[in-house]
Assembly symmetry: C2
Homo-oligomer: 304 residues x 2
């Protein structure tokens, strides 16, 4: 049976490392449990802000198994499985489906630039066919400013036509509401679920027929962002959106990914949480101090 | 003992696939042997034009072992080992060193954009330290138009200062002679070897103190390009350079990587050689025919 569709707030869960840069599964499990208890309806592990592409394929497999073994419900998991190499994407996608994950979030292969839609269609199509499992729910991951390889409306249409049961939706991280709006309009009524990649567009997305957001800031502010989802039809919706935006703006005053880890390290009282793998670099002490001060001024907390 | 330094013409060897997209090691061995017999002094397997990032780590390891097992001399091999994930780069680099390869050609981690030189320094430094082998000779791979992550002069200087024995040179695929010239000037006398990424700059590079080129076109025209190297101080040098440039110009009239495979397929009488992995796409029949006609008009051959 295919899993239920995810909606609401998903976190691209940051991946904790030990100080020697090895992965720290026990910290990941605790963080995932905290996220689900505080407003996340799903966990988009192995996204951009998870340093997924800084992990080996076997590390991703081992971490996903550790999560499920620890009791994190597989039907809340939306792991990233899109790699440059087709065999890697197939292996990770098949593994996620076999574990019972709600779906997978797939980057296009991102090494070659200016590739054709035909080539990208073949990439996704080969994964779907080689995995060959009716339970597969594939969400496309459009993040052109990082991947430098866009998922065009024409590609979406072609994949939806060929694989209507498997192609389930998109995470649009373009940061361009007009683009999101065009995707919503083009896919309306088809059961194609549109997540925005930033909570800034969350209320707009819900009002326009989208299903939620998959946003880095949900790693530390799941409760604040989920408040928008729970109240989106109420008179307070705009105020709740503005409050979430304020936290986001503060987080984005420094490099975001190390900022998220620094905030978690602070509230967990666990300095090793701040570790990132190269080529990323942790916050400088002054950046960290300024960020925590600014969040303190907003009254921001990560409740236990 | 560290291997001798490579010079002259190196091919980023195209990787053959069966029609089911699996790798074809026996074809790769034959092509590598042909290249060494026809002008290549070295083989930069697993480069951009090798579809290296479309291969899984285990596929790269198995192919490299197949080459050495078939008698391709390890001291002629310069495999690409730079991946997005540090554990992958360490594994591939250590493996290449243990096999006795002449060196490795390392892309920077290329998923995150706008990363700092500090982060890139840590990436290369961690690989060098974790491999921990005096035989390692690391060549930096600067290809900003594809990787979108440049190797800056400042980064080169810092790596050379920290690891003067390990950091052996660069492949500059910027296509910007002023950049290559600046790198040559900045590293003159340090034993840092500069390869250009296109034979178009070969003669200029040799005259300015560079050691050769690592160029896709060497997959089909190693003899024509090597003629420039063998005669670079003779009066015919410019004419030989112009002849090589003409072949290059013709190859680049269509998408280059599938063009190389189409030309090899043609001269080998082996249509499956034309297979590429997505997101790349093979030449359309009309493109292929036009290319072969144009090469024929130049009198171009791949001799047996």
């Amino acid at each position: 049976m295919p899993p239920l569709r995810l909606r609401g707030v998903l976190a691209p869960v940051v991946t904790p490392f030990h100080s020697d840069l090895s992965v720290a599964p026990e910290r990941l499990v605790r963080h995932c449990q905290w996220l689900l208890a505080h407003g996340c309806s799903g966990l988009a592990v192995f996204g951009t802000n998870s340093e997924a592409n800084s992990l080996a394929v076997e590390e991703r497999i081992a971490l996903l198994e550790a999560l499920v073994a620890a009791g994190v419900p597989a039907d809340r998991l939306l792991p990233g499985t899109g790699c440059c190499a087709l065999p890697d994407s197939v292996k990770l996608t098949a593994h996620a489906v076999q574990l019972g994950c709600a779906g997978v979030l797939m980057l296009p292969p991102f090494y070659y630039k200016a590739v054709t839609d035909e080539g990208l269609y073949r990439s996704f199509s080969e994964v779907i066919q080689r995995v060959g499992d009716d339970r597969l729910r594939l969400y496309l991951y459009h993040i052109p400013q990082v991947a430098q390889v866009p998922i065009t409306p024409g590609l979406i249409a072609r994949l939806l036509q060929a694989y209507p049961r498997h192609v389930a939706g998109i995470k649009d991280s373009s940061g361009d509401w007009n683009h999101t709006r065009a995707v919503l309009d083009a896919t309306a009524g088809s059961g194609f679920d549109v997540f925005v990649g930033s909570e800034v567009f969350l209320l707009q997305n819900l009002r326009a027929g989208g299903v939620g957001c998959i946003t880095a800031d949900a790693n530390v502010n799941p409760h604040g962002i989920d408040a928008v989802v729970r109240n989106w039809q109420s008179p307070q919706a705009a105020e709740l959106q503005a409050r979430a935006d304020q936290v986001r703006q503060t987080l984005q005053s420094v490099p975001l990914l190390p900022a998220l880890k620094a905030v978690i390290a602070h509230f967990a009282g666990d300095p090793a949480w701040a570790t990132v793998r190269p080529p990323l670099v942790e916050l400088a002490p002054a950046e960290r101090a300024a960020l925590l001060t600014a969040l303190g001024e907003l009254g921001f907390q990560m409740p236990e």
